[in-house]
Amino acid sequence: MSLKLARADRRAAWMFMAPMLIAMLVVAVWPLARTFYFSFTDAYLDDPTNYSLIGFDNYLEVIGDRTWWIAVRNTLTFTVVSVAIETVLGLGIALLINQAIPGRGLVRAAILVPWAIPVVVATKMWEWMLNDQFGVLNQVLISMGLIDHGIAWTANGSLIMGVVIFIDVWMTTPFMVLLILAGLQMIPGEIMEAAEVDGIPAWKRFWSIVLPLLKPAIGVAVLFRVLDALRMFDLAYVLAASSEQVMTASIYARNRLISFQELGIGSAASTWVFLLVAFVAILIIGVLRLDRAAGEAA
């Protein structure tokens, strides 16, 4: 009887899962499989029905291209620097607004605003604020007497990566804050009170209690941000199109696929991006022991 029931349960479970599985097949598995398949062909975008299989040539073509490695270097620089800054800032701000300060609710809502603005809009907005002739930032610097002519923030090869990282930090620190704040609120108040009663100094409480308990939350937040940053496209593309100074791996793939119409090579580049992201994700999960930490916390 119970066996029968279990079987019926399982059947019901599959039936409830079916719509989701079908949706996943259609919107995720199918396009992914198609991209993967095309990466082994010499197809072109203007006539994708006409192609032949050419093995791993496209993959070799991509890793033999100097521009690809520039794009990978840019992507990694961007990811490491921006996520590091966002984590530190996010932790700091989360600790601040976790305190019972007056108007806390308002501050929490306000801090989310940059994250709610679409990337393209935010980037365009910053582009104008950083404009060398009309930008508000240069106006402020000039009126303070620090410079006498506007700095071309987005034209200067040595500044533009910094600008991209800055805008990303501005935009996604709220996301970090939110996730870390959620982690902070999971820490039982009694532990902190007990530590306080025992006369443990604040920095020690932070270092030995808060930080270890926050580790899973920070780990998940970092993982999300890293995966997001590794496939970053919009910000750099809006600011500098396909300029090599901030070209990311995703922009490289789009460039080959759309601008050059090379469906095969573009698909191979996309697959490399996918492998890169997957590799880094596994690395982070392994290093931070996220799978186990999550288990412990639960």
Partner: protein, 419 residues
């Protein structure tokens, strides 16, 4: 009321109803910079035929329309019937554009410049009709040149000297934000145009010759790029390295630039809307590098073509005929300073009254700088991107000009072949 009159009235009503029933709508893509002129053309079409043309604005940076078109055409969508096309895209989209040869009378086709029409006539199929010749032009502050007693410059060196002098004097007189010359040197298709103009007018050729030989590695080209590099930070703000058409136009139209290189549409935008430079702008063909060379405005004829998957191909072709026809090209020339692709308009008194230099540009079209999309075909984007990136690196100083040109030349040898 007699029965006869009643019948007449009824039949008239019927005819009217039939007329409205026949009136139809086509959907059209138009460039962001000539949107107003397209709307005007659509209004004229409606007045003439009763049919409506719905104008859709394209992205400000024209190349961003490529993925849009690709999605639309790959899905065989009939949402937009008429597509606005850059000459360098024709090879890319040729399989998705309708052959309209039979729908456009031969005389109408022959009215256009032969080579311009020819670019839209691929393998005996007419896939697009020329709408106008976009060509790089020099805009300048007439009032400032007069103030300092100068004539419009003939060579790039003269331009640089004048720009420097006016810029310095204007700054001393209190216009602290004044610059001598604004142009486009962002790493994008526009830089290919700006650079090819400088190089060709200096006798340095057009990157790849018609027979496919890569010609870019030559002393005249190096000299032209060195010259432009010297402008940045002196007469041009460092920001030009990140400017596209619109960003540089903003500086000029704010009154902060003496000279400005752009496409003809700036004539319209700088004179409308009550900006600070209304009535103070002059326009001329681009200067030359050396005396005896030809002014080499980058030539980009623009086209209209019919989406192969359109549900109303006849009507769409009808609209293409109308908007590329003589009346609309004349309207564009007079109101927006667009150079027509119909040769007869170059002797039209109304057009010449507005654009006196057109008389000289017609013969010059044969010599003007054409981007090497003819030879490179489907590889054009690769070639152009390799070129503008290399030039951008030279202008920023990340790459030595002579060594950079040699490297570029070797790269282009590999990239140039169409498939």
């Amino acid at each position: 009321m007699s029965l006869k009159k009643l019948a007449l009235g009824a039949s008239m009503l019927l005819a009217l109803a039939a007329g409205t029933a026949r009136a139809d709508t086509v959907s059209v893509f138009c460039g962001a910079t000539d949107y107003d002129l397209c709307v005007k053309a659509a209004d004229a079409w409606k007045a003439k035929t009763g049919n409506e043309a719905k104008i859709n604005k394209m992205p400000a940076q024209l190349d961003d329309a490529i993925p849009l078109y690709q999605q639309l055409l790959a899905a065989k969508s009939s949402d937009v019937d008429v597509l606005f096309l850059d000459v360098i895209w024709l090879g890319m989209f040729k399989n998705n554009l309708l052959d309209i040869k039979a729908m456009v009378p031969q005389a109408e086709q022959d009215a256009h410049f032969k080579s311009t029409l020819g670019a839209g006539d691929i393998n005996g199929q007419l896939i697009a009709m020329p709408a106008y010749m976009d060509v790089g032009l020099m805009f300048y502050r007439k009032d400032l040149l007069e103030k300092y007693g100068m004539q419009p410059p003939k060579t790039w060196d003269e331009l640089a000297t004048q720009a420097k002098e006016i810029q310095d004097k204007e700054r001393a007189a209190g216009s602290k934000d004044m610059w001598g010359y604004t142009w486009q040197a962002k790493s994008y298709e526009g830089l290919t145009c700006d650079a090819i103009e400088l190089i060709a007018s200096n006798g340095g050729g057009t990157i790849i010759a018609d027979d496919g030989k890569v010609t870019i590695d030559n002393p005249a080209a190096a000299e032209a790029i060195e010259k432009a590099k010297g402008w940045i930070g002196t007469i041009s703000p460092e920001g030009v390295l990140g400017y596209d058409e619109e960003a540089s136009r903003a500086v000029f139209e704010a009154g902060n630039s003496v000279f400005h290189r752009n496409w003809p549409y700036v004539w319209g935008t700088s004179q409308g809307g009550g900006g600070p430079i209304v009535g103070k702008v002059g326009m001329m063909p681009l200067p030359v590098g050396k005396v005896g060379e030809k002014s080499s405005g980058c030539l980009g004829p623009m086209y209209f073509g019919v989406n192969k998957y359109s549900a109303k191909p006849e009507l769409a072709a009808e609209f293409v005929r109308f908007i590329t026809g003589p009346d609309m090209q004349k309207m564009r020339a007079i109101e927006g300073a667009y150079n027509p692709s119909i040769s007869a308009l170059y002797t039209d008194p109304d057009v010449l009254a507005k654009l006196p230099f057109l008389k000289d540009t017609q013969p010059a079209f044969a010599d003007s700088a054409t981007r090497p999309s003819g030879y490179t075909g489907t590889s054009y984007n690769r070639v152009s991107q390799a070129f503008y990136r290399a030039v951008h690196d030279m202008l920023t100083g990340d790459e030595d000009v002579k060594a950079g040109l040699a490297k570029l030349s070797a790269r282009l040898d590999k990239l140039k072949e169409s498939r």
